[in-house]
């Protein structure tokens, strides 16, 4: 047998971008192949779940798990890979904090099924057939995974050793992580592999003291190319977001939307955004403050929790009644 390590990659609720991001390290992937045998990677390698089930516990050296958890099958795979892996990394924003799939927590299972199996214009479903976890047919019982009401992050499901943030993680950070693992220079468990500062710190734009009278949406102004976007009233999430991307978006005039997740020490990304943005509103008059906020931020969930809904303290909005809209407060 070779002395190579064993590497597994798997995905839960995700778009597949993280799988491609792995290849973003370019020819260094060959060094990965030199160091590891890929035992499981459904996107690229033909391997069976059963063969993973038969492996000894802790026999996989490294598992990179991308994607959030929204079905019982994904939860099963997460538990299985945890059991078989020495080091398990939550790879990318979905596994780390729910990301875009986590926005399903703005609604619920019934509303999602209603849209997917009924309302969409291309759906023809006169008998209103919906997925069932168990269906009796002549040959026996067919089963499907249970679809969750609330999307979970990976660490709400299993123990996670490291986090690699980003939607998707930048190739340089992926390589940093792989190098740390290959050279056995692992940081303490629980570490988020990235920088411990914010996107603002690496953003080249000039900052002044912030005083905001009006929040603007990106289509409302053509931003000054050199000045801080938030100074200009555009909601930029750089203030709460972990550096690691190199401030790609603000550099080219597009506000940070927070894909690299909360900065070190930030538990709830949205709370940090709320706190930071509220502090710089230039008004002491309650009515004017309300107006600035309500007119300037029409979609607080989308602005503050685009990537971290499932990871926030509340994880989801209050359950709804199947109309696809959050319940109106009483």
């Amino acid at each position: 047998m070779s002395e190579k390590g064993k590497l597994a990659l798997y995905w839960g609720a995700s778009c597949g971008g993280c799988e491609i991001a792995v290849l973003g390290i370019d020819d260094k992937i060959l060094q990965v192949a030199d160091a590891f045998d890929i035992v499981f990677w459904p996107v690229a390698v033909d391997a069976k779940v059963r063969s993973i089930e038969k492996m000894e516990d802790k026999s996989i050296d490294l598992c990179l798990f991308n994607g959030a958890i929204r079905t019982s099958e994904q939860e099963y795979m997460a538990r299985l890979l945890r059991q078989k892996s020495k080091v398990l990394v939550a790879f990318g924003s979905c596994a780390h904090e729910g990301c875009i799939p986590g926005l399903a927590n703005m609604t619920d299972k019934e509303a999602i099924f209603q849209t997917a199996y009924h309302d969409t214009p291309s759906t023809h479903n006169p008998d209103d057939v919906r997925p069932q976890t168990e269906t009796e047919v002549a040959e026996g019982t067919l089963t499907l995974p249970y679809f969750y009401e609330t999307v979970k992050t990976l660490d709400q499901t299993i123990d996670v050793d490291y986090y690699l943030p980003g939607c998707p993680p930048e190739p340089e950070r992926i390589w940093d992580a792989l190098t740390a693992i290959l050279t056995n220079q692992l940081p303490p468990p629980g570490t988020v592999i990235g920088e411990t500062t914010t996107v603002c710190d690496v953003c080249p734009r000039e900052r002044e003291e912030k005083k905001i009278k009006e929040f603007k949406r990106t289509w409302e102004i053509i931003p000054d190319p050199d000045k801080c976007l938030l100074d200009q009233g555009i909601i930029c999430c750089g203030i709460a977001t972990r550096a690691g991307c190199g401030a790609l978006c603000p550099t080219v005039g597009s506000p940070c939307i927070g894909c690299y997740g909360p900065n070190e020490g930030v538990e709830d990304f949205g709370a940090r955004m709320m706190s930071a943005l509220a502090s710089v509103i230039d008004s002491d008059d309650p009515a004017e403050i309300d107006r600035i906020i309500q007119e300037g931020i029409p979609d607080p969930m989308g602005s503050f929790y685009r990537f971290s809904m499932a990871h926030g303290e509340l994880r989801r909005v209050a359950p709804i009644s199947g109309n696809g809209k959050p319940g109106e407060p009483a």
Binding site: T133, A278, P326
Partner: protein, 165 residues
């Protein structure tokens, strides 16, 4: 047993300089008010990060009260204006999350206003009581369906045909 009235759990973040002293005053003046507020003393209402409120609600609180010095009277000059703005921002977001307005309240109460604080607490307890328990973490429970479904999956794997290596 008679049916008990619902006793809401309310977390109160009270500032050291005004509102906590207001609560003290209410106590020494032997004013009666509802015992449902668990008080946490903070140095300033401006210390109360929105995440504290979200965390309290997620961990079982039915409501949260933030109390501080009146605007213009902050011990730290203007931090309670930040509280005011953060509170407005938080309410805006909580509405989008479907959490009722009455569950989170900002109350100004100076050190001399024991009665104001006691009245506000009574009012809030009554409002939250009529809304009922929040029980937020129940929303994540999936009604116990997870283990059952994983059990089905395992059984299916048992029954599936062996794939030759």
């Amino acid at each position: 047993m008679t049916e008990e009235t619902f006793q809401p759990k309310i977390i109160g973040f009270l500032c050291n300089w005004c509102s906590y002293r207001a609560a003290d005053l209410a106590g020494t003046a032997r004013m009666k008010y509802e015992p449902n507020v668990r008080i946490i003393r903070v140095m300033c209402s401006g210390r109360v990060d929105p995440s504290f409120i979200l965390k309290a609600l997620s961990m079982g609180a039915d409501g949260v009260m933030i109390a501080g010095c009146h605007p213009g009277e902050c011990h730290y000059l203007e931090q309670n204006y930040k509280t005011m703005r953060r509170f407005s921002m938080l309410k805006h977001t909580l509405r989008a999350m479907g959490i009722e307005d009455e569950r989170v309240r900002l109350q100004w109460a100076s050190a001399a206003e024991g009665g104001v604080l006691a009245k506000a607490i009574n009012e809030m307890v009554e409002q939250v009581r009529s809304l009922g328990p929040l029980n937020w973490s129940e929303h994540w429970s999936e009604n116990g369906r997870i283990e059952e479904s994983i059990g089905n999956l395992l059984q299916e794997h048992e029954e599936a045909m062996e794939v030759p290596a």
